[in-house]
Amino acid sequence: MTTTETAARRAPLTKAQIAARVADEIPDGSYVNLGIGLPTLVADHLATGRGITLHTENGMLGMGPSPEPDDVDPDLVNAGKIPVTELPGASYFHQADSFAMMRGGHIDVCVLGAFQVSATGDLANWSTGAPDAVPAVGGAMDLAIGARRTVVMMNLLTKDGRPKLVERCTLPLTGVGCVSRIYTELAIIDVGPDGAHVVELFGTTHAELEKMLGLTLGPTLGRTR
């Protein structure tokens, strides 16, 4: 029995399981930025003692979890404008420093959500392309290209069943060739100059996945870090 067939017996991952898997693969001691949306779940799975420091683009390292309602401080928010707390060793800095930290390659890992990722690692996550939509980009483009490693956490299909891992993004791009790995409910897939390669499958087979995505995927490489 091949690895792929064994994998097919597993159930798809829940959001919490995807987040736990992302957290598990972040090296101890990393400086990490978690994007708005699904990636914020990763924080719940980063055990203290691993020396992982969270960066928030609005100007803080050492971000802690949400405060108790009575301890909310309007001067202390994260990139989603949600109240957070400071951990021992936290620091504050202005916006140009915060983005220099990203662009300058000082942030080790960035976890982002996505509308589409291409097999070569292009990312589209800031605009649905709808003509009447009010656009907003925030720090997405800086994060995508700035971190030493950018990974994506997302559902593999849209709500109406269309693949989000595509040969070529049709939505407006956030960054070119910036994503290394995607974590989804059905598969962990590496993307990049050599195309898409399956790392691990959950509740599907290699052949089913290729059919679902309409893509040729490189062989399952086995679990790697």
């Binding site: 928030t56 683009e57 609005n58 100007g59 803080m60 909310v72 401080d73 309007p74 001067d75 202390l76 928010v77 404008k81 400071e86 504050y92 800095f93 202005h94 916006q95 140009a96 915060s98 983005f99 220099a100 990203m102 662009r103 292009d122 605009s127 009447d132 939509a133 009010v134 656009p135 907003a136 980009v137 925030g138 720090g139 997405a140 483009m141 800086d142 290209i145 700035g146 407006p172 791009l173 956030t174 960054g175 070119v176």
Partner: protein, 232 residues
């Protein structure tokens, strides 16, 4: 630049803002919004403004009302869309306000560059995306970069926590955000602080914005964001 002037009111600190002026407004969401100074700008009456700010107003806050009243011709910002940005959304859809959407790091660096006297800079952020269309680009060390120009302003409105008698500023937590770079990028920087303290009582090692960048200071009793929280 002359020493900071201490004004008795936000309107007095704001001084004269001309029609068509470029105004930088600090803040990221609720943190660091100079709400009293923007309220003063509403009252002062300048129109046809170019506003440089990360966001484009929430609910009926002063920046949102400035947009609602048609006083803003153009917004330069990274994240205008919010769940409660209805005044901007409506003005944008009707064409009443122009939008220059800038990736947040490019916005920050363009503001920083203005304050630092940099003529332009190459950045990898945005290359290959719609936001870099029509911009000059160059491959440097194998990485594609986009040419970006500084953003200067006539006046910056910023909120800090404390100022001393020469205009040195310290901020509070993530309310620092755009304050230090906006005070440097504008010809005139107007700052509202929670407290003015005697010169010599701020640790010089801990001063974030040196007074050289600050032109006018107004002390607003209490904490603006706490007030916002209580009214929310």
């Amino acid at each position: 630049m002359s020493a900071a002037r201490f004004a008795p009111s936000a309107l007095d600190a704001l001084g004269d803002v001309a029609d068509g002026a470029t105004v930088m407004i600090g803040g990221f969401g609720p943190a660091g919004q100079p709400t009293d100074l923007v309220e003063a700008l509403l009252e002062q009456g300048a129109s046809d403004l170019v506003v440089v700010s990360n966001n484009a107003g929430n609910g009926d806050d002063p920046l949102a009302r400035l947009i609602q009243r048609g006083r803003v011709a153009k917004m330069v910002c990274s994240f205008p869309r919010q769940v409660d940005s209805w005044h901007f959304d409506s003005a944008y859809r009707s064409g009443a306000v122009e939008l220059e959407l800038v990736p947040q790091g490019n916005l920050a660096e363009r503001i920083r560059a203005a304050g630092a006297g940099i003529g332009a800079f190459y950045t990898p952020t945005g290359f290959g995306t719609p936001l870099a269309e029509g911009k000059e680009h160059r491959r440097i060390d194998g990485v594609d970069h986009v040419l970006e120009y500084p953003i200067h302003a006539d006046v910056a409105l910023v909120r800090a926590d404390r100022a001393d008698g020469v205009g040195n500023l310290v901020y509070r937590k993530t309310a620092r955000n755009f304050g230090p770079i906006m005070t440097a990028a504008a010809r005139r920087a107007v700052v509202q602080v929670r407290e003015v303290v005697p010169t010599g009582t701020l640790d010089p090692e801990a001063v974030v914005t040196p007074g050289i960048y600050v032109d006018a200071v107004v002390e607003i009793a209490g904490n603006a964001t706490i007030a916002m929280k209580e009214s929310a």
